[in-house]
């Protein structure tokens, strides 16, 4: 089976998604609407008297809305929070088990908030039959919870499903569910929809098996795999909670995530998901749901056209900021290394790259004319600006390129912890000098937005041996 690498546009979509990108999740807001109460399966980690304890936060009952109320709420939130970018339907039941309510909500939003990205989380049972409809509403992202690809393991997680007008139990139920999930995943990937896979780590049930799940969903083109710890406490009243099923330790979770990440492939591992509540509003980790309860938004009249315009402007500003001014320290990203350490090139996931840019948005600078380099740490999750580095220009004009050894040496010193340099053009001599210093120059991305270029080159790099970038066919200084 083949692993496809992410195209630059896929990478850019991920980089700006508040749930999937470690930078974007600090800048953009997302709203989850609780319009889908019914579920078509039973999981042993869920007590159906409350919200699902693993897909949502335990013990918090969501505010159930009609489709009309949900759309009104999204418009009100989108007018008050201009950095709202994503509206998702994730529960309390399964959105695709409530297709009428789900699509009525999306219809209203497609008309009055066409700029918002819509997403859905599902157990996958009803997914294949709804794929065409989802594509119609330009659903950007679908999350499928896949806990197993083996029915004998599935039978220990799912006591029953509702399928073709019957309740089906045991191994047969798990077989059908797994088939539908895999079929749905394949259909979505074939239609260009981003698919994230969630898995609940259940020690002794699917812990070893999740490596196989990771391998399968990676091969099928899921772009992210998020392994979440089982939540199972007796007070939740779930089967697992009441039968003493242990929750995973932090170490078990970390080791499994690392093992999956080490299996390679283009599917990234997501480490920052906080299992946000189904009706969460705001930035991840900063929940503002109470400000936008139905009572508060019901009476509001929203100028939705003005809201769309405002969000579009704010979004463009944030996108620029993510590329240029993102100085966020995130605990899961690698800290900036002391200069002189080639950690960028040595860590399998994070790669340090430098960009020569005049306008700060695109790869537009000639190496020899650059006044500064922008230094980024690039991982499958996105690109983080480490710092700007001023350099002595060593090339005073296009015709004197190459005869300024001390300045070139200074530029190389400024780049010595970077594995790759992106620029619009570069002379032959500096090219050789950079290569000799084990820095790969790359001018293939001339003119592209910096974030696209970084993510594309980062993906290429992970698929190849280090320093496989060759000067052949590149634009060299005349």
């Amino acid at each position: 089976m083949e692993t496809t690498s992410q195209s630059p546009s896929t990478a850019a979509r991920i980089a700006l998604h508040p749930c999937y990108s470690e930078q974007a999740h600090r800048h953009f807001a997302r709203l989850h609407l609780a319009v889908a109460p019914a579920c078509n399966i039973q999981c042993h980690y869920c007590n159906r008297k409350y919200d699902c304890s693993n897909e949502s936060r335990p013990g918090v009952v969501s505010e159930l809305l009609t489709p009309e109320q949900a759309a009104q709420k999204a418009l009100a939130v989108g007018a008050a929070i201009p950095h709202l970018a994503v509206v998702g339907v994730a529960g309390p039941g399964d959105p695709l088990a409530n297709p009428d309510r789900l699509f009525a909500t999306f219809r209203a939003l497609a008309e009055k908030a066409p700029d918002l990205t819509l997403c859905v989380s599902t157990n996958g049972l009803a997914l294949p039959e709804q794929v065409e409809e989802l594509v119609k509403y330009r659903i950007g992202h679908v999350t499928i919870t896949i806990n197993c690809v083996d029915p004998s393991i599935g039978a220990r997680i799912y006591p029953w499903i509702f399928w073709n007008h019957r309740r089906i139990r045991g191994r047969k139920a798990a077989e059908i569910l797994i088939d539908q999930q895999q079929k749905g995943l394949e259909m979505l990937v074939a239609r260009g929809v981003l698919v994230k896979v969630n898995s609940v780590l259940i020690p002794g049930v699917n812990d070893e098996h999740l490596r196989e799940v990771h391998r399968v969903v990676t091969a099928k083109g899921a772009f992210l795999h998020n392994i979440m710890p089982l939540i199972a406490r007796p007070e939740h009243g779930t089967y697992f909670g009441l039968t003493g099923q242990p929750e995973p330790t932090a170490d078990q979770l970390r080791i499994l995530r690392e093992a999956c990440a080490g299996q390679g492939g283009a599917t990234g591992m997501m480490n920052h998901c906080q299992q946000c509540r189904a009706d969460a509003v705001g930035l991840i980790g900063q929940d503002r749901g109470a400000e936008f309860s139905w009572e508060k938004v019901a009476a509001e009249t929203v100028d939705w056209q003005a809201a769309v315009a405002k969000r579009t402007a704010v979004r463009a500003a944030i996108e620029r900021r993510i590329v240029l001014h993102s100085q966020i320290h995130h605990p899961t990203s690698a800290p900036a290394s002391p200069s002189g350490q080639r950690t960028g090139a040595l860590q399998s996931e994070t790669l340090r790259m430098a960009v020569a840019s005049n306008d700060g948005r695109t790869v537009d600078a000639h190496f020899g004319h650059a006044r500064e380099f922008l230094v980024f740490d690039v991982s499958p999750m996105g690109a983080r600006l480490v710092e700007r580095r001023d350099i002595e220009r060593y090339c005073s004009g296009p015709v004197t390129c190459g005869d300024a050894a001390p300045a070139l040496a200074g530029a190389i010193a400024a780049l010595r912890d970077c594995a790759i340099l992106l620029c619009a053009r570069i002379g032959f001599e500096p090219w050789r000098a950079l290569e000799d210093a084990a820095i790969s120059p790359n001018s293939e991305r001339a003119g592209e937005p910096i974030i696209d270029a970084l993510l594309a080159v980062g993906a290429e790099w992970r698929d190849r041996a280090p320093r496989a970038v060759s000067p052949a066919g590149q634009r060299l200084c005349a």
């Binding site: 019914a38 039973q42 159906r48 039941g93 006591p159 007008h165 309740r167 009441l242 003493g244």
Partner: protein, 88 residues
């Protein structure tokens, strides 16, 4: 011949859209079946639809008051809540 929804219904909506006779109403404090409309799905489906998706044991009962989904049948948890729980 009609089924009945009783107090332990959580109002999860799963049954309502499936009823071929539109017999189910989203009432409070729990959903209700209109006995004049409910046919127990006879002639429409081999299994009664509401009772085949309902996740709550005991929430739907037959004409004799017997639960369609008796305790333990859906969750696989031991029926009596007072039973000491097995540890690990």
């Amino acid at each position: 011949m009609a089924f009945r929804i009783v107090a332990c219904c959580t109002g999860c909506w799963a049954c309502l859209p499936l009823c071929p006779r539109q017999a189910i109403r989203a009432a409070a404090p729990h959903f209700e079946i209109d006995p004049a409309r409910c046919t127990e799905c006879a002639g429409d489906y081999p299994d009664p639809q509401c009772a085949s998706i309902c996740p709550i044991e005991g929430a739907i009962v037959d004409a004799a008051g017997q639960p369609l989904n008796p305790p333990g049948s859906l969750t696989r948890l031991p029926p009596a809540p007072a039973t000491p729980l097995p540890i690990s």
